[in-house]
Symmetry: C2
Subunit: 106 residues, 2 copies
């Protein structure tokens, strides 16, 4: 069975914000954004966590509508749904991706 991917009209702002509101998931989104529109093999994105943890974060991003995951043979791929997120929530992804790090220790 194909994993759940919401269509644009199902995407909810709170769910997308919550999906992005995590350092590991933002690192994934930054890596995918830099990786171009064709997506990346899941295994090529090293986020420094266990496979179970990585699977959790992929799922949160996918179920929010931020990424798309698919399989070709035994290889798993992932891509940022940049156009879908932009169409649904204009400016949001750019604002999140353009944010620089904090410059004063909290």
């Amino acid at each position: 069975m194909a994993p759940y991917h919401p269509v644009r009209e199902q995407m909810e702002i709170e769910t997308v914000l919550a999906a992005l509101g995590n350092p590991i998931r933002m690192a994934i989104v930054r890596a995918l954004s830099a990786g171009g529109p064709d997506g990346l093999a899941c295994g090529t994105i090293d986020i420094g966590v266990s496979k179970a943890t990585a699977t959790h974060h992929w799922r949160v991003l996918r179920e929010a509508g931020v990424i798309r995951q698919w399989q070709v043979g035994r290889a798993h791929f992932v891509a940022l749904r940049r156009e879908d997120v932009e169409a649904r929530f204009p400016g949001l992804l750019a604002a999140a991706l353009n944010a620089g790090p904090a410059t004063v220790a909290p």
Copy 2:
């Protein structure tokens, strides 16, 4: 002791996204946005939850840098830190506030 408010440079994108990524907190932010720049008395914002729950959500928003809370005598006030969030993460708050509801049941 005054409650903690991060300065602009301490605000982190993941923390702000996580703070906004909750239906009750987005409802608060929408109410404050509609309320104008001078803020509102905390008691005038009815978010339909217990006082303890409301206090939790105020705190998450305040510690992320999204709202400011202050006291005058025994009255508590709250305001959206619109200029600070905009200066730190341009376009983010507008993108979150402009988002419409989902139009297809999930």
